[in-house]
């Protein structure tokens, strides 16, 4: 049985979004990415992805609901037998729109909330849309679509994990992602104000462990508190393809910031990009690794961690991920843990 080639396509349909989250995973200069792929371009990307072996599609952004052609793209994806997941803030959405998307073939929805109580939205995202999100969750369940609730955790909401589990159950979610922000891009800029303390992380973990529920709960540590690198994207250019709004094809959302050459889906077929794009080849496999990774057994589990984090913290994208306790630059991470301050957030 072979599962070679990409399995999952993340289609970032637009960088535009009504929310301005201080930990957004879009690039810092998202507003300078002006060109957007047309409906025809996206349809071709979907067909090429399916031909390459992709089976899962995440429609993401920005806010994918801002695209008027979303129903058409969902329909195209389903005709290719892709499992289609919409990753949304729930703004703007109506019950009718969700119904149209379901009828077009949408398989699942992942809805983000900023917290459990609706108290941090204004500060973190520039606007409080908590009630709208609760309505979207209810419509999703009424339409019998499986719901994943996602909350990005940071210092101001991590103490609510128990309430988030209760909220997810109350909303009938199938799955809850309690994913700490990873400190790249916007979250890196706002790190001093967002990174939770070690005590907050330990408490949240204990609450999640003790929770008794049918719900599947995924708790993701921030790398900066982990001491072991995260298996970022399950390995560089191993199973994921990300296509940005302008057609740039990336191995992860944040890779755009690295000094690498990435190719564009408008100019090259996805198969050629997957096989030959310099940006994909740069860190695929293990040949690029230095010590201590090169001879470390963990490399088969963590694939050498996160290249974007190595670059953001050390300026060298080939460096050992500083999240690892064995990394020469691990001190940068332990310093970051103790340099939290009450600071104004810079919203995207």
């Amino acid at each position: 049985m072979s599962l070679e080639g990409p399995l999952t396509l993340v289609a970032e349909l637009t960088y535009a979004c009504p929310l301005r989250c201080a930990y957004c995973s879009n690039p810092l200069d998202w507003q300078s990415v002006l060109a957007s792929l047309s409906t025809e371009d996206w349809s071709r990307v979907l067909r090429e992805a399916a031909a390459l072996g992709v089976v899962q599609l995440h429609l993401s952004g920005g806010e994918p609901l801002l695209r008027a052609d979303l129903e058409e793209l969902v329909g195209e994806a389903r005709s290719l037998d892709l499992f289609v997941n919409l990753i949304t803030s729930g703004v703007p959405a109506t019950r009718e729109r969700l119904c149209a998307l379901r009828d077009a073939g949408l398989d699942a929805i992942q809805l983000s909330v900023q917290d459990a109580r609706g108290v941090v939205g204004a500060r973190i995202a520039g606007v409080d849309r908590h009630r709208q999100k609760l309505a979207v969750a209810a419509w999703t369940r009424e339409l019998d679509l499986p719901l994943t609730l996602n909350c990005v955790l940071h210092r101001d909401n991590i103490d609510q994990v128990g309430e988030l589990i209760a909220l997810a159950q109350e909303l009938g979610a199938h799955r809850l992602e309690l994913a700490n922000a990873q400190y790249l891009g916007w979250a890196h800029v706002n790190r001093a104000a967002l990174l939770p303390s070690a005590a907050q992380i330990a408490e949240a973990r204990a609450v999640v462990r003790a929770a008794q529920c049918d719900l599947e709960v995924l708790f993701v540590l921030p790398d900066l508190h982990a001491d072991r690198p995260r298996a970022c994207m399950g390995g560089w250019a191993k199973s994921y393809l990300i296509v940005a709004p302008d057609g740039m094809v990336l191995p992860c959302h944040a890779a755009r910031d690295l000094p690498l050459e990435f190719w564009n889906a408008r100019a090259q077929p996805l198969a050629a990009i997957w096989a030959s794009s310099p940006g994909f080849l740069a860190f695929r496999g293990e040949a690029w690794m230095r010590e201590p990774c090169r001879s470390c057994d963990e490399r088969r589990r963590d694939f050498g961690g996160c290249r974007c984090q190595a670059f953001a913290l050390t300026g060298d994208m080939h460096a050992t991920d500083p999240a690892c306790a064995l990394a020469p630059a691990h001190r940068l991470v332990t310093l970051a843990r103790s340099s939290q301050r009450a600071r104004a957030l810079r919203l995207r």
């Binding site: 599962l3 089976v55 037998d81 499992f83 699942a108 992942q110 599947e216």
Partner: protein, 87 residues
């Protein structure tokens, strides 16, 4: 799971990819091995658990008890993940 229950997949789809059989579900996919593909191809909401076991016993050399145990184990594991509904 009762022998006269009629299970079907819920929020999940079975599909082939090359020589692999996959079960696709929200935010995850499972690569199916062993007896799982043959079992799930019979899980369609119209067959009962007993009929699924019977059909597999007809086509495979394994003892009926082994087949029955495999079918129950798989269906119960998927039901725990919310991916099986009893029709």
């Amino acid at each position: 799971m009762d022998y006269d229950a009629r299970p079907r997949l819920r929020h999940a789809r079975l599909r082939r990819r090359g020589d692999a059989m996959l079960l696709l579900a929200p935010e995850r996919g499972f690569s199916l091995g062993g007896a799982a593909p043959a079992i799930l191809e019979l899980v369609d909401g119209s067959r009962t658990v007993e009929q699924i076991v019977d059909a597999l016993a007809r086509d495979h050399a394994a003892p009926r008890e082994t087949i029955s145990r495999d079918v129950h184990a798989l269906l119960e594991a998927l039901a725990r993940r919310g991916l099986i509904r009893i029709a």
